[in-house]
Amino acid sequence: MNDALGLPQSILVLGGGSEIARATVRALLAKRPARVILGGREHALAEAATEARQLGATEVSTVVFDAIDPASVATAVGEAFAGGDIDLTLVAFGVLGDQADYDCDPAAAAEAATINYTSAVVAGLAVAQQCRRQGHGSIVALSSVAGERVRKANFVYGSTKAGLDGFFQGLGDSLAGSGARVMIVRPGFVRSRMTKGMKDAPFATDPEAVASLVVAGLAKGSPIIWAPPILRVVFTAFRHLPRALWRKVPG
């Protein structure tokens, strides 16, 4: 069960290899031992599983899925919950990709949309159904500031996150009264494998910092957190920029 400070005793990570998810699991295990279930492509999970074991997880198991295949996500969620109640689910899989590539390869863009949006929708609904049944559970969805106002520099990625963000807002509202809750995390530029080789954007952060904001958000019961928190202010301003100006924002 989640305790009064939002700390879980069982954690499911969909996208178990994600660096933000791994940092979050590390931060949670530092506070409480927990059972950890890692979901994703098999080869991406081994390292995270070893890490969770070393950090005092009471039990580590894996469920295999590939987010390119939404049906496999639903199956994996079912398998994970069949092993007992899950207090916290992190929806953390996703791809960034390169806008220039997407521009000339619509099929690749469609794949990104499937992974980042369609499969996230499947994950959200499948987990929500289980949470309703067990009468409790937190769902943490990794969104992005890129979805808050989509930029021309990464509008395929940004639009998938915009869709995901809206979906989880609605899901959170639909779960009111069920005992389950949703927390949306909107990180800015996070230095990680996903952004390797890219120049830091302003207010760049790292997975550990995002993770500690997630842990604090769980304690406070926040519906949405920004990482770093200043981005909330920045994007409130960005949202209101005239389109002609927004188009000229570099990067």
Binding site: M1, A4, L5, L7, E59, G135, G177, S178, G179, K220
Partner: protein, 446 residues
């Protein structure tokens, strides 16, 4: 079940943290619910005044006791009362006082049920002389998965004492016979002492508590240095003026939506300073009413909302006599961390009763209401370690966050309790979120 009425509801404890949803049905359905073997178990719930998740059952069935609230019989000669388990201490006091009787034990709120009082084996300001609630229970009816049993401390001592403080996990108590003490007045003669520091209050309680039936200290946990642990000690006994008029009212209510963060170190400091200064250094024989003396917070309806949406928790610990230095260190750490509480009380316990999970034991108990702030988790974890090292424990009825690994050390008779419990519920049908979190029953080891 034909004609069964159930209601899907989101429930929390008094601290309003970790809400979970359950199917809520009236307690009178208990036997039918057990017969149907519901998926995610069964638990009785009273007025929901335990602070954490003790009266929650996520995804399962909750048997609501609150409409099962009859005073079945009252013997005016002996004070023996038979009640339905959902009757509140509030209702009992209203019925008993005009007959010259009072409840044997009352907590700081009168809005708890007798069923809850048994499940938590509650204590009050008279623990040092009267023990906890179940010491006054003569018999009870318990609905369990293996049948409905009448349990008393003589013929069924094991199950009786496993139920006393058993957090509702041995069965659903439907009624109880309780011995009520006589009173000669609805007023109390109260002596107040204000002390400059912790040593002062510990010395007064050690030296003088036995002269009073009721004793408790309010403690300023934000005071530091030479004022560390400064307190206001109030002790008293029922007067003997024959005036049995009793009146209790909820004077004001708290609005349903209240901002988080208003109960913070600054406002608490101001509040505590005022409480401390308002108290007389030494006053004897002040007449106080029952609500004034026992239930001052009940005058404000829904005062738990004052902590806002994030809610709060209560950390109540016991440290054995001889561990006063641990107590001091803990208060020092709290004051140093600026984690204050407007409602912090210190009480000297007498001997415990035989319940394996009953909280009270000889020693000091300290209880603090704390607003939820993220850094609270690690601070309280560290303090828990000090409590365990001193041979102390946490009160399960208040808990919402302790690490489960500490529970067998805090409650060394846990295995003995589990053996008795498993006799009446081998399959673990009785379950609460507290149990899922701490694995009290041994059925939730994952």
């Amino acid at each position: 079940m034909p004609g069964a009425v159930s209601d899907h509801r989101l429930l929390t404890g008094w601290g309003r943290t970790a809400p979970t949803a359950s199917d809520v049905r009236p307690l009178s359905d208990a036997e039918a619910v057990f017969a149907a073997q519901p998926d995610r178990g069964v638990l009785a719930r009273g007025l929901g005044r335990s602070y954490g998740d003790a009266a929650q059952n996520a995804g399962g069935t909750i048997l609501d006791a609150t409409s099962h609230d009859e005073l079945v019989t009252l013997d005016p000669d002996t004070g023996l009362v038979r009640v339905s388990s959902g009757i509140s201490i509030d209702r009992l006091i209203r019925r008993l006082v005009p007959h010259g009787y009072f409840v044997p034990v009352t907590p700081g709120t009168r809005f708890v049920t007798v069923g809850g009082a048994i499940a938590s084996d509650i204590h009050g300001k008279n623990h040092h002389v009267a023990g906890s609630f179940c010491s006054h229970v003569r018999s009870m009816t318990v609905v369990t998965p293996v049948g409905t049993l009448t349990v008393d401390p003589v013929s069924e001592p094991e199950l009786f004492w496993a139920t006393a403080g058993g957090m509702g996990l041995t069965g659903v108590v439907t009624d109880a016979t309780v011995a009520m003490p006589r009173i000669g007045s609805a007023r109390l003669a109260v002596d107040t002492d204000r002390t400059d520091d912790l040593d002062g209050v510990l010395a007064l309680m050690t030296g003088g508590d036995d002269r009073y039936h009721y004793s408790v200290a309010w403690i300023d946990c934000l005071a530091r240095g030479r004022h560390l642990g400064r307190s206001v000690l109030t002790r008293g006994d029922f007067a003997d003026d024959g005036d049995l008029g009793y009146e209790a009212a909820v004077r004001i209510d708290t609005p349903p939506v209240f901002p988080s963060g208003l109960v913070n170190p600054l406002t608490i400091r101001v509040f505590n300073e005022a409480v401390y200064r308002k108290a007389p250094r030494h006053r004897v024989g002040e007449l106080q009413t029952i609500p004034q003396f026992f239930h001052p917070l009940d005058g404000v309806g829904h005062w738990n909302r004052l902590y806002g949406r994030r809610g709060f928790l209560q950390w109540q610990i016991l440290v054995p006599f001889g561990e006063e230095e641990t107590l001091r260190r803990i208060i020092e750490r709290l004051a140093g961390a600026g984690v204050g509480s407007p409602v912090a009380v210190l009480k000297r316990f007498g001997p415990g009763d035989p319940g394996p999970l009953s909280f009270p034991a000889p020693g000091w108990t300290l209880a603090l209401d704390l607003a939820i702030v993220p850094h609270l988790a690690s601070l309280l974890d560290e303090l828990d370690d000090d409590v365990v090292a001193a041979g102390g424990r946490i009160y399960l009825a208040k808990d919402s966050r302790v690490r489960r690994a500490l529970v067998p050390t805090m409650y060394p008779r846990l295995n003995e309790w589990r053996r008795v419990r498993d006799r009446v519920d081998p399959d673990g049908v009785l379950v609460s979120d507290l149990d899922r979190r701490l694995d009290l029953t041994g059925h939730h080891s994952r």
